[in-house]
Symmetry: C3
Subunit: 407 residues, 3 copies
């Protein structure tokens, strides 16, 4: 069976030979293709599965979300929404009674055109922040701050970096849906986001967000390429955010960790309980912990957020050579303010780039060089599977003890 | 007779029981509804009136007004245009030979996406300013200036406030038309504008702009709500702007006023003639007077701009407990520069927020608390009705004398 | 024969009496007219020519070019693309094996809405820069820098000017296609771009970009008008940019020049070879030369870029009383970084406005006054025609010697 809806002009992200039975380009700046709405489902494309899956693309309207493209993937077990207009972020994930994501004060899926990253002293990013998974990066990824760069006349001058960089507020230039026949059959949403300018970075992100039909997990497979002629600094942090129902009083962070460093004095006060969560508290000021994860023999690590009864959880698994640092962001404020925690694997921590560079945590990409980042996100819906995930993490931890250091 | 075109999902602004015969949602971010164009008129919906009324929604295009939604209301006597894309501002009002509004150098109805509020040292708001009635606010409403705020890590840091705040450059998320059967029958245009962000304000404006069919007046009925978990400062100024034909040499401001304070030394020079208007003068630098209005026994005040012959006028009536301050803005420049005066009821004056706070003029809203603002705008088209409005204002003034204070 | 497709509401740019056989308004903010796509060609409108010409308007989509309007003109010999959404810039020109334009790291035709001119210390303009011909201006045209202006309260305050001004990132409010019957028949694309605000400039650009059917040249005929009530400073620089195939090792700038001033010390080092081009060199830092052109008896000058074999070239001809200065921008970086040279006639050089003013190079327009700028761009495709263009330039140079001055 070989059904191909439409040829894809762009080289796909990976070189893996997939048994692709379906391809569809939804947006292409290169060929001028776009579509307002589109969908496909298990009835239109029979696959070797009994799951009632579907993929649906539509456009939001009203207020600051006018014109935002979203793609809703339902794999029969789990539903998630990808936002091509916002850098291929994942808005939210739902599976049974588990929801990945959070209740931000930002209620709309804000079009990047309505965001001025420079507003509020460089905190404009917060005007659109409500995703379950948003990338920070690529030229810079952390806190606002002044840093130097070479301007058009070759001088080293200063600029104000804005919170968490630009990639989360850039629209995808190419967007495709691929479906693999399998077994197991798998749905892919792919997109290319360009962070390019003259006399500046020429960074490209190709992402492939995929899920096995009927499963309780999805994978983010990203490739960042430097199309410039010279070495290019870059940063990427996967800002994965979870509120209720996983986050609650008694919820716990579980990770194989060799070092815990509080981000500041305010976080240091509670470092001994860095992995425990209290309930919502009005006016809570965020606490941030910088973690260095341990890896298993294959180089993989896993971190997890489990609820109080340890019968619901989400885990993130990734190779530590790709993402050697994890930021744990605890924003245990009232529900109206945004009760949320972030588990954030990255190439560094979210200090401003100048400081990250001093700490040796700002990698470079040579001309035409690429780096790959893969993140497996899984949902657990009963005590047994949470316990099994916990055992996997404890095996990685082994005999090692997490050392707590000062800032 | 009970004709309802479409159910309205949102709670309406007011709890008043209206005999609504018609409701139509034109935009809803919540339900994903939007429409490019739509209209209704007296032939399609018979009401107990002989007036030829209509409501028409359409979308502008070309230049910086591409994609701007407007709603044109004709009540049979008076026509006005509401701009959902620009914070539910009122572009202009026309009745017979009276026009409320002015001839700004800005000729298009500029989409907020084309406005960078931070440009020109925080004066970017002026790039789109041409409305008859625009709200300044909600997090701040006055002049640019540095002020402090709590950032994401809980530190008190500084930011640059921009002229007149953001609400006038935010698109409405929900827009509805309601028609009351009466008698008297009344047309309502309602909209919700959100000024929300993470680690920032969660302010909501619900406005109901309505007019009795066949009348020469309209009412603005606003409700501002704090959806945050903590007390929230806010400011609102109703920037109502009038040029010719009302504004002309010999035109006069009439108000029941207990105190007149010139905004600066330049205004102080002419404080004795603060209520009189000269004709257009090239290069005129604006003069601003801060007024404290008196109220009648019901707590209402009224201010008026009348033309030289006192046979055409516009009045604004409002409760002084809602809007205790009035700014009178005289920009008597040449017609090409913008010959205009602003009558601006507000919760404060337009000094930068830091100064307004020192003067005790920055109110707060508790969690889930709301404040209501109602403004009745009336047009007078002959000497008798202008004289009657004048008498009403004189009755409010009574024996009190307007005191002039220094800045 | 008198075929008029549609009446044009706006006064045309010029008062010349054309034998117009066809007029079409494509965008009009004034009348609310817009069209997504449209075309006309030699079969639909027979003209006295055997050339297969066409004009086609369409809208781009995907990534940062979503919603960008472009007009593609094919005169039978030469094709060029005008971008109404980006200030009526010319994206690229193609004729046989000659391409005018360059390969910028910016691959999309970026919608101005995605550009924040203030980003990167005022270098945001570079995020969309990839045109063959883009105007810098109109309130300012050069490098970023602080300068003073009068704010709304009449005070002289400071603002940060951004690189190359706003006109290249403003959408046209009126766009028309006119076709002259001739002989010779000629295609015109006309557009009006407004740089207007309250308490700021009220500058209007009307451009007429036209080409004789079957020819190898096009003409840019611009009129800049001050609609303000007072004298208004303005600046305009025509940033015409050429990469391969014209630009290559051994390519040469040819101009009738009386004075050459390197822009800075880095440019001064190579001033003796200012008119020669090397091949792409990774990390090359731009060199800029400020030229004062000589004129022939009609007041015209001509400048040219020719390839290494002197068998392909482009020339720009213009009156020196309109555009008395030429900036030669050499950015001989690697192809990935943008290997490009700019030949830039202007009312001044691209130093920041404060410095240009000190040098007496910031002209003013009185109230309602206009200035005209005409630029004839021609392509040469063989040795004989390049040599003839060279001879024309040498005749203008005559006995005069180009004097080299220090910065």
């Amino acid at each position: 069976m070989k059904i191909i809806d439409e040829a894809v002009p762009n080289a796909a992200l990976s070189a893996t030979e997939m048994a692709t039975v379906f391809r569809r380009v939804l947006t292409s700046a290169a060929t001028g293709l776009c579509c307002e709405s589109w969908s496909i489902n298990h009835q239109e494309l029979p696959l070797a599965t009994k799951s009632s899956w579907s993929v649906r693309k539509y456009t939001l309207c009203g207020g600051r979300q006018q014109g935002v493209d979203v793609i809703e993937v339902d794999n029969g077990q789990m539903r998630f929404i990808v936002i091509p207009s916002r850098g291929m972020s994942v808005l939210k994930v739902e599976s049974g009674d588990v929801r990945l994501g959070w209740d931000s004060p930002v209620k709309e899926v804000v079009h990047p055109l309505f965001i001025n990253l420079q507003s509020r002293g460089g905190l404009g990013w917060l005007e659109g922040f409500n995703e379950c998974l948003v990338r920070c990066g690529l030229e810079w990824a952390g806190h606002p701050g002044r840093d130097t760069f070479r301007n058009n006349v070759g001088d080293e001058v200063e600029m104000d970096l804005t919170l968490h960089g630009k990639i989360g507020n850039l629209p995808a230039s190419e967007v495709e849906v691929h479906i693999e026949a399998g077994p197991p059959p798998r749905i892919h949403v792919r997109g290319r986001v360009d962070e390019r300018m003259f006399h500046g970075p020429q960074l490209e992100l190709w992402t492939d967000i995929s899920t096995e039909i009927g499963s309780n997990s999805f994978r983010v497979d990203d490739q960042v390429t430097n199309h410039g002629a010279r070495d290019q600094e870059f940063q990427i942090i996967y800002h994965a955010n979870f509120g209720p129902p996983l986050l609650e009083a008694g919820a716990r962070f579980v990770g194989a960790v060799k070092q815990v460093t509080p981000f500041n004095a305010h976080a240091a006060r509670d470092v001994n309980a860095y992995d425990k969560f209290a309930g919502p508290q009005e006016g809570f000021v965020e606490q941030v912990y910088c973690l260095q994860p341990l890896a298993d023999q294959e180089g993989q690590t896993m971190i997890m957020l489990q609820n109080a009864r340890a019968d619901r959880a989400v885990s993130l698994a990734f190779p530590v050579d790709q993402l050697p640092y994890v930021t744990l962001w605890k924003n245990l404020a009232s529900e109206a303010e945004g009760y949320v925690t972030g588990l954030e694997p990255g190439t560094g921590f979210p200090a401003t780039r100048r400081l990250e560079r001093l700490a040796g945590r700002v990698p470079k990409l040579g001309p035409q060089a690429s780096r790959r980042f893969t993140l497996e996100v899984a949902i657990y819906a009963d005590q047994a599977s949470v316990a099994e995930a916990d055992r996997r993490i404890q095996r990685i931890q082994g005999e090692a003890r997490a050392e707590t250091t000062s800032t």
